[in-house]
């Protein structure tokens, strides 16, 4: 029986209890810098200042946010891009002195009335991609940073020894202090620091603390994530949400930051000082009611979070299995959401920020750890979410308890589950082909399904194992590809085609072979293959709603812009389309969920006091999206060649894959490529694969042509100064830089369409220099 209405004091998780001497730990801190500031008041969602901390010089300063900056960059990720532009160089790399780790909020961040309003947007130059990576994350830190007085914090330089940064909104002070004795791994550290910095010894005081940290895994890999804590007054432990992608935790640890702690004096429903609180409460309550009435018939987020996707993806051949070779698997039903539902704690509120009634942040409480340093202890595991379960299937792990073990250690070690899972899945495939073997893997038998070996690999990474394999493996697929190719192990083409990374970042967990638009959704992106820019598989593959290149390009314009908007404001995307109004299917554009778009327009206006419409909010995104692409170009990585994706994401790399879906591929050779049945019958599998390979590669290039054109970029993928000016982005330095890069491309002959067009087909424009006439 599931019990409810348990008083918070009486709620029990069954977790192992720890006792630490917090006073002793705190007394060993040496204060390096203390900076006091005037607390100030938030005005219509903005504090109108950012915080700059330099760890090399221990300097702390405040920067003003101008009206012009708000107009051009809106907030959140937009502010992060602007701050990075002002601070880094095109040659800046993840471990450069001047690289910054930035955590931003956004004007709507910290609102409690609208579900999904507590997101922080984190940015840095990524170790995986050498360009800017942005990652969004829940937890209390973003709202608390703002309530403590800052729209963003940028951290530059490196400390000499492990430090804690304290942003104390109660006293109005910032301190940088050494922290020699605290645990590094997040599930312990977040608890320790919450107890240490809470003003009083009670749950409500502890709820006013949020800790950002990364564990020992982040010390020794490029997969480091940031763990953002949110204190759970019922479970009485710090729960964790991750800014997973792109190695932000690696940068945190490279700067020798053990943790960033934010503390607030008070939280209220109007901490953001919204322009129209009455309107805000109305828009928010409307969506709460929708979730109450419809979630159970739609996604069941409140019961199982995003894990409900597992069975759907398996049914549509989209669940990555054995390194994306297959999209479904006979054993997959073992990890369908009902198995996790049995393990999840039920009834109590599970939002990662107050007021999120979507409540997808599920946990398993009292989970007994099977391996490693915490073996035998009982802990709260946050998750697993769909992506983490998908990592399980990708590595062929079909036991929910091993997926939880993987989830727990990835989190506490500060490793991104997605990159780690996708990476290991690739290593496993290489192991199967003998390109890697036990000897080359430092004694690990890394075959598909070997859960013990997976965990051993994680523990060795966290322990800083010096073996060649572990050191390289922890840097991700791109580096392992280069390593194996350099060693002369295996076929280069096979290695390049099967390792699921683009721009150096590992793919998230969807099979995209049959959806060209989604291949673009992963490849024609800013930071790399993460599904947060666009998720078009159903629209494209299942509903065939965007059949032409032009249709797909329109979707790859609108959806990345729309989804970028959440990051500018400090919002979560889930309450947009993981709950839909009952009549959504009858609207003109159900994929856009028009009623919810309108709610977001009203929401932004209610907080900021602006008077924007649905067109203007897309423009807000377009400004920042183009700016980020321009910065990629500036850093040498924003061209067509950088939007390359591995063939595994486009089609069958191996004969086994082809044969497993033979009927489908044979049919396509006839229907799409115009071969006769007889021709196909007489072709060998490798001939058929080669024909399909050429066709699909060309389809992708044609798609890139259409998308670049729609976005107002050159045929080589560079945002044009004309487009930037249209958007009101008139920074002369960036405009000159773009013009110079376009001129270089022209000289090199790159400003031409990339697709090969046969008779009757046309590129997006007859003039590949179309923008010059604007």
């Amino acid at each position: 029986m599931v019990e409810g209405q348990i008083p918070i004091e009486e709620y029990k998780t069954g977790n192992t209890k720890h006792k630490w001497d917090n006073k002793k730990m705190k007394s060993s801190h040496k204060i390096l810098t203390k900076y006091t500031y005037k607390k100030g008041e938030i005005q219509k969602g903005y504090t109108n200042r950012t915080l700059h901390i330099n760890l090399t010089t221990n300097e702390v300063k405040e920067k003003k946010i101008t009206e012009d900056m708000k107009k051009k960059f809106t907030g959140g990720r937009g502010f992060g891009l602007k701050l990075l532009w002002d601070s880094i160089k095109p040659t800046t790399r993840w471990n450069s002195e001047e690289n910054e780790l930035i955590i931003t909020t956004g004007p709507l961040c910290g609102t409690t009335q609208y579900p999904g309003s507590g997101k922080s947007l984190c940015l840095t130059v990524s170790p995986s991609t050498n360009i800017i990576c942005d990652s969004n994350v829940g937890g209390f830190f973003g709202p608390y940073l703002k309530f403590a007085g800052f729209d963003a914090v940028e951290i530059q330089g490196k400390a000499k020894k492990d430090v804690i940064l304290l942003i104390d909104g109660e006293e109005g002070k910032i301190t940088i202090e050494t922290a020699p004795n605290e645990e590094t791994n997040s599930h312990i550290l977040a608890d320790q620091l919450t107890y240490m910095y809470a003003s009083e010894d009670n749950e409500r005081s502890r709820q006013k603390i949020s800790v950002v940290s990364a564990g020992k895994g982040a010390d020794h890999s490029f997969w480091g994530c940031l763990n953002f804590s949110f204190w759970d007054i019922r479970r009485k432990t710090a729960r964790l949400k991750q800014a997973g992608r792109g190695g932000l935790g690696t940068v945190l640890r490279d700067k020798k930051i053990k943790a960033i702690v934010a503390k607030v004096e008070k939280i209220s429903g109007v901490s953001n000082n919204p322009a129209d609180p009455v309107k805000l409460a109305r828009v928010g309550t409307k969506i709460h009611k929708e979730i109450r009435d419809l979630d159970r018939y739609q996604c069941n987020m409140r019961a199982v979070g995003t894990s409900h996707l597992v069975e759907i993806m398996d049914a549509y051949d989209l669940l990555p299995t054995e390194n994306y070779r297959f999209g479904c698997f006979p054993k997959a039903s073992k990890i369908y959401s009902p198995h996790f539902y049995e393990l999840f704690t039920k009834v109590i509120p599970d939002g990662c920020w107050h007021g999120c009634t979507m409540a997808c942040a599920k946990t398993v409480d009292g989970f007994t750890v099977k391996t490693g340093p915490y073996k035998g202890q009982r802990v709260t595991v946050d998750g697993p979410e769909y992506e983490t379960v998908g990592c399980g299937s990708n590595m062929s792990l079909w036991d929910p308890l091993w997926i939880l073990e993987f989830n727990f250690y990835c989190d506490t070690y500060g490793l991104d589950t997605i990159s780690t899972g996708t990476g290991i899945a690739f290593y496993m495939e290489m192991y199967e082909y003998g390109i890697l073997n036990k000897k080359r893997c430092g004694g690990l038998e890394l075959c598909f399904g070997n859960s013990e070996a997976v965990m051993e690999l994680l523990h060795r990474i966290a322990n800083g194992d010096k073996g060649d394999f572990i050191k390289t493996a922890a840097k991700g697929i791109r580096r392992v590809k280069d390593w194996m190719i350099k060693k002369g192990w295996g076929d280069k083409q096979l290695i390049e085609d099967t390792g699921m990374e683009s721009k150096g970042l590992e793919y998230s967990e969807y099979v995209t072979k049959e959806s060209l638009a989604m291949q673009g959704g992963y490849g024609l992106t800013l930071k790399g293959p993460q599904h947060d820019e666009a998720w078009l598989i159903f629209m494209d593959m299942v509903n065939n709603a965007i059949p032409t290149f032009k249709d797909k390009a329109e979707a790859l314009h609108y959806f990345p812009m729309w989804r970028t908007w959440f990051g500018l404001n400090g919002l979560c995307k889930l309450p947009w389309n993981d709950i839909e109004p009952a009549n959504n299917a009858e609207t003109d554009e159900p994929a856009k969920v028009p009623e919810h778009v309108q709610s977001y327009v009203e929401y932004q206006n209610a907080v900021t006091g602006w008077n924007v419409d649905k067109e203007e909010i897309i423009l807000q995104s377009e400004r920042c999206y183009n700016w980020q692409r321009a910065m990629n170009v500036w850093m040498g990585r924003g061209r067509r060649k950088d939007d390359w994706i591995p063939y595994r994401s486009m089609g069958p790399v191996t004969e086994m894959e082809y044969n497993s879906r033979k009927e489908r591929y044979d049919k396509q050779l006839i229907e799409k490529l115009g071969l006769s049945e007889k021709q196909v019958e007489n072709m060998s599998v490798s001939e058929k694969m080669k024909t399909l390979y050429d066709y699909r590669q060309n389809q992708y290039q044609k798609l890139a042509d259409a998308v670049y054109y729609r976005r107002g970029w050159t045929p080589n993928g560079v945002p044009t100064p004309q487009k930037m000016k249209q958007l009101g982005m008139d920074d002369s330095k960036i405009l000159e830089m773009l013009q110079q890069k376009i001129n270089e491309d022209k000289k090199a002959g790159f400003n031409v369409w990339g697709g090969k067009y046969s008779k009757g087909e046309k590129p997006p424009s007859n003039d590949p220099h179309y923008w010059e006439k604007w």
């Binding site: 409810g4 918070i8 209220s268 159970r296 007021g355």
Partner: protein
């Protein structure tokens, strides 16, 4: 501490009500120190044709598990109370109340609800309202948590 087993909830004697709304005025006096009633009252009297209906919290407590900060608790007397000093105004309880009895007035961000104080009972000139004791086990409700419909 012994847990409450019963709670007093409002009972509406429909046939006696004349729609004078003295109850709403008395209620808004308790919550907002004003006789305005309407959206400042936890009890609502709604005219349906020739008769009146009452909408008010029945202390089922589904909202308790919705509150992220523990501002909603069941007190010793069984009544579900919202502590507005703890409340962070998220409206989760308002949105999820299955009978729409958690109230929100434009006057402030924190919602409010019936606390079975009896002011409306006293204020009613027709004795249409009374507080009756019911067993908690018979009314308690837990928020929907199942997988599937």
């Amino acid at each position: 501490m012994d847990k409450p087993t019963t709670v007093k909830i409002l009972k509406f004697n429909q046939e006696k009500c004349n729609g004078c709304l003295e109850c709403e005025k008395a209620c808004s006096q308790i919550h907002f120190k004003t006789k305005e009633g309407k959206d400042k009252s936890a009890i609502k009297i709604i005219k349906k044709g020739n008769i009146y209906e009452m909408n008010v919290c029945d202390q089922r407590g589904l909202c308790i598990d919705m509150c992220p900060v523990g501002a909603l608790t069941r007190r010793k007397n069984g009544v579900v109370l919202l502590d507005k000093n703890i409340c962070i105004g998220c409206q989760a309880c308002v949105g999820f109340c299955p009978i729409n009895a958690m109230r929100k007035s434009d006057a402030r961000i924190e919602p409010f609800k019936c606390i079975s104080c009896g002011s409306c009972v006293k204020a009613c000139p027709e004795q249409a309202l009374e507080l009756v004791e019911v067993k908690l086990d018979n009314i308690k409700q837990v928020v929907y948590h199942k997988q599937g419909v």
